[in-house]
Symmetry: D3
Subunit: 331 residues, 6 copies
């Protein structure tokens, strides 16, 4: 259905008209110097976003009944000003149900979400501890929550900031956590796995992703750690006979997974599984940041054996892609 | 009933026998160099604690059926070794119900707890916001919780570390909070008052005070902030129609009341009332620390116009009692 | 007299001529690409500031005898370039004495300065301690100092950065300090009140406000803490019989009022009144920052129940206006 | 040969004579109050150390020709003073070659060193990168270095502070590193493995373990990071054709493996393998610290489901042994 | 030979053609909106750098055979856009050997390098310690290394960021170090002098200055401390009989000269000479930063008795030029 | 007069009676277990201090009329308990005027104070700047202040903690400052010299040394920086025509000489001379700490080529005495 993407528009000739579906990310009414009202819109899809202008608000071909968060069909053309590309809208209406797919409208994982979800469920099914299994099955068995868990990004900006990012992040962590649990007899594998699956579950309430990725006000005031704890506590409250001590440990893992007070965890990891959870979470995030940075460097045309720029997520250090750099030596 | 206190024993002649009721704070079996088992006990009451020894475990006059947390009746005498006073136990049995009052057995507030409780209830009664009033009435209306709220110390060691300390601390804060709310129109007085009453409510679960003041394991793993949030959330869950936004703000106040991430608050105060709560809590704690230090200095015989020693709770600074120091000038 | 303000100019049509009085904030001679000299001026009044250009320096209608700090009468018109408004000056002369009021020329308190001053004097009059009363009466009785105290801003940029800001800040603090002193018997109210009135008195030397708000070089080298201490010491030196110990305490309060070494206080608060002064000063500054931010958010058209942007003065946290946010729930 | 250990002596009756071999850890001549010289010795073996006194230096049965670092045969008996056990030496001579085994004389790994060494060599043999393989084979092929690598402790005090500790630590890391490398395609497994084997190699020069575990002066002045880099550089200098870039990466991994400047690494990890090395090293050290603490708690008779004391190596936090704590729930 | 400098071009009329020699600092091919390729060049000489454009890549008067790092002869003219000056290249070819001097092409010391080098050699000749003398003579006697030592900047940006900067910095330090050594009998003057000469020698490998000043990748991964240590170690390895302890001390001085772990020194200064080296290096850098800032302020037309702007190299503090400020008082 | 020193007593046989003069550092009345009052005294002289006991307060040979700060004549003998030496007092009376010299009673410089004072005055005489010269002559010309300047220690504990320590510290700094001023043309030598002489002048008020070295209460509340500024300001106030700017600079140097806010300087050094003052002060203190530590190590019998223990004044690092360590190599 959607055959024209924001990433295509950059290459269009000025003035060429096209039709396409986009998500309205922002809608503002402004005034020209001649005091005429116009709309400044941000339209987006999974390939990016673009500024759009609607100059003639009285034009009957321009619908009035849309808001940020709606999908719209647009007819328009691109114009360029100092390397910025802008869309001039000529016609516009809300998309009909079924005409456009919301999954096309925001950056999304390139992985198969159904396959990731199956992996998650297989992991849950593999748990030997009946209480933890029951907890995860109940929580992930809630359809609304499951849907949100599948859609949620893992962050607004930093890492896995795309639809499905939370799930993708958790699946990567599970792989690492299984390996780590196999190495240390001290670790209770089921508890660690449960911690991995639940540690960021509060993000489905802290973040919203209808109109781009942003925090909810409740999320800013309470944080995903508290929101996740609340979710898990309420689920456990509905599970008769769930052991008190086990409940305390699961909550402790969520509370402590940032590893340091100054990173927003009100408690430091005090049990082996909490320590391991903090380690796999932190390490995986940094490895992803490295991989992303190497991709970005390549995309921006930097030589593969050059240092990257300074990377914010890694304390402003520069990075070097080992394999690319060694390439020359090996030939 | 209790007429002999730990603080009296220091002055007793060696060998003088006495009878008295004490709380068993700790009970350890050890072995003499001759390999004979004996008990090393810590006995206490509200005036302090003392080490006690039971040398002959086979003596029929020594009961076996007591544990830490029990009140006991002891017959014994004091001995002294290098300025340390020790109790030699000759007879010992568990106290009968009604023989001894637990409130005599641990350091306790010198204030009238019933009066403090009345003040708390009067404040709750004065709230104009019906939801907050309902929340507080419900929570404090639970008899077990009310009893714990009346008994709990405010800390294990630092400030208000005595039975009734939490309540005493809250009452002092309420007085200050009312004054602050009256000064700033920006502040919602009812919300601030609610925050004051609830901010440390989790301490009734974080701490235990049956056998001296200590943390529960759950308390160490979860912390009083999380435990308080949990208590309030569950109470609100039972109040139909409690506004979501108000719930978020009350929880935010509890979460943020330590004021800094590194002090264990996972969120910084973001609303005026949370900022005010952090201020009154921090300031009152420091004023109490000053007052306690001046009292301690006096008790230890330091001149009233001398500097105190370095005070841990105030970054190791020394303090000076203004009024005492100025006394000389004014004469 | 002044009937056209900078804030009005934004709305003027291009080319419309007007006459008005302004303060010269800055005067620089520059050269066009054709090597012709012109003046780039910054003109201001209490509503803001605007860039102005004088292109023909030889024009007899343009006075030469003015400098930054002078008030001038200007005839000119506005031009716009990329949303920036500029003034093209056609005639210009120094204002005659009495033609313009300097109080109209810089951002100023909206409060009645005479009324604030009366409140300050009433507080001084209320002191029971004769030495402190004598100190404050002498210091504030100096006409030049009193005038500066009434005019001074409380800061260059952060809070109360307007004429009369120091006085306004002190009056707000006095209200809070009185309430706090009433709550804690440990506090000597007269000493605390004296500390509040004197803690920032050095700002009348650290800052200058003739041509906008800036630091004096002496202010940068010595700081308002030292400058205030110097002022108070010299005043006390002129008061026979002023008690040495009281002098030490007053100076200690000024020295320690920032509360931390890293905030520029060479001493930490060591007496109850110094601790209280640091707390009320810090808390009031943060409450004012909150209030200002909510006003600014409203002014900039943000929804009243939205989070503000990240606030520099409050560690980059976002804020939420409780009352506005709860508004919806309450309806 | 060695059949009496320090740990046995604690249980001996006073006065009972015995013969045994020990390592002299320290030898000091002191003077009694009667001005008579005597020796105060520290004698040790792998189970601990004990203070010993030689009172009669003129006794012909007491050899004079030994120093710290020598193994000696001692005849003596124990005495006790306030719970401290002391050895009174009656006869003493240097051990003959072959009479005693140095490996019995200091705390040593409980693992089979030959087996650990075989695992290390198998890992080296498995490397596909010929240059890295050649580097490791050359370095570990040096007999003196190999011997030191097998003997060295991993630290003076903190973790793996026993003979063979370095090797044991490296083998544990290799297991974890292999798992991590298998999880992240970005990682060059051979380079990571090389980093693991070489990261602490400088400790064989930084530390000495002849007479207990201590730093060499050169070790204190230069540190094991620099000493390891030097060792590796000199080895590479002897390998013709070793690629420059590969050399740089290997050195970078050693330099950066502490992960932070303030931990003594002059460079932060900038390649994926250096990041991984830092994480596995840090995490393994913390897991070992947890395991050691649980063992120590058990050894000291603390209940298995109690919190440990505050653990220095983990920022003074208390720890809880998950499996022990959950034991009760599971029954 | 070179008679037109970048600093001259700013004053040229638009369109005026000129011929000149420049260093190619950067060469990028880009595409116009009409999809035509062009070159964007950065050309520089010791007075600065300028952007240049080659629009017609097919023009036979434009050479193709040059890269960044080459010197070129250019014919072109200047154009201006919004105060930025740009060069439009009409002809271009590589400079013939001998036509242009590389020393004219980058910012360079204003001191006489030969004279500075003679001073360095005189200092080496003055050493009484034969081993240190031999070390320095050997190292500085290597022609390639000597050439690099004479050319290297002391930093990429901060202080002495010009050709010859390293040598100039060392000569200034030697003067100060001699004075300090004369004041403290505890200091071994020869060792301190050796430390001064060698402390930054690794910069000749950490930095490159063919095409402007930048770090080498090896420099970023290893750092000049490690690179200097390596250079010195290898030189010492070639000096038979060099005392081990002396080698350790020289290396320790290089390792510790930044004075703090967080500044990239893996060891703190532990000997008097290392402490002194750290202090003279730090102090000289700050004094140079002050002097540079005063010069820059003067160059930018700031009044000599005004405060400078906030200085990055001195923790954002503002500076005041004492002598200039006092000038007025003294008249 | 004084022929028996505390350092001699250690070697005395028990029971041997002697007579000697000492300073009473502390006097406390305590009670024996038999409830009999006795005095616990601290007596001292320049070689150290010793605990003394007066058991029979009713003995007519024991004077009652002395306090801490008095010099006394004592007859007594030493006793030993667990390596601690104690004095048993048999007779005791206040010293007659002239019988004992206070300079013998506290640790004092080994340098000739008159000679140091002459050096200070010669430096003042050498100043070319008439205002600075006048300032120093006036201030040091005050007899009471001059006496205090000659007597004051430089610190209570850390460095130069002995009578005359301040003067000794200043003289050492002057030597270094002259050398530094000669090296940097940017520095105004007279201003730097003035800063050196005045930077710690407040210590004569911050400290007291009648009964050992301690802070005055005023010193703790205000600090020597503020006290020195006050002293200098008042002196300048008495010097007609002293230039305002010069006054500001002198005060700035005192205020900023600790170099960092967190070290108690409310301002950072902003002029070259203030930067230099901070450098010479900090460096000299650390060099003295090194020299003292090497002396102490030698005194305590540590091998001269061993590392010292961890040194508090140098961030807990260990130190090595270069010359001693190299000694062996050089032979």
């Amino acid at each position: 259905m959607k055959d024209i993407y924001v990433s295509d528009l950059v290459g269009f000739d000025e003035g060429r008209l096209f039709d396409g579906f986009f998500l309205v990310l922002n809608k503002q009414q402004r005034t020209t110097k001649q005091n005429k009202p116009y709309w400044n819109l941000a339209l987006g899809d999974k390939t990016g976003q673009i500024e759009a202008r609607v100059w003639d608000l009285g034009d009957p071909r321009i619908a009035k009944d849309f808001e940020a968060g709606d999908m719209v069909k647009v007819r328009g053309g691109v114009s360029r000003y100092e390397d910025r590309v802008q869309l001039k809208v000529e016609q516009m209406r809300k998309a009909q149900p079924g005409e456009a797919d919301r999954l096309d409208m925001l950056p999304a994982t390139t992985r198969d979400v159904d396959e990731l979800w199956r992996q998650l469920q297989a992991t849950v099914a593999s748990l030997a501890n009946p209480d933890l299994k029951r907890l995860l099955e109940t929580l992930l068995g809630d359809p609304a929550l499951a849907q949100a868990y599948r859609e949620a990004p893992a962050a607004r900006q930093l890492h896995h900031a795309w639809l499905g990012g939370l799930l993708e992040h958790v699946i990567s962590l599970l792989g690492l956590a299984e390996r780590v649990a196999a190495h240390y007899p001290l670790l209770d594998r089921d508890l660690l796995v449960t911690g991995v699956i639940l540690h960021d579950v509060g993000k489905i309430r802290e973040l919203k992703w209808e109109t781009g990725f942003d925090y909810t006000i409740e999320g800013v005031l309470l944080g995903h750690i508290q929101m996740g704890v609340d979710l898990v506590e309420k689920t456990i409250a509905g599970l008769p006979g769930f052991p008190d001590r086990l409940r305390t440990l699961v909550l402790h893992m969520i509370l402590s997974h940032h590893g340091k007070l100054e990173f927003g965890s009100p408690k430091l990891p005090m049990i082996p599984e909490a320590l391991a959870l903090n380690f796999v979470d932190d390490f995986d995030a940094k490895m992803q940041a490295m991989a992303s940075e190497f991709e970005r460097s390549a995309r921006e045309g930097r030589a593969p054996d050059a240092l990257t720029g300074k990377v914010w997520a890694l304390d402003q250090r520069q990075l070097l892609n080992t394999k690319a750099w060694l390439g020359k030596d090996r030939k």
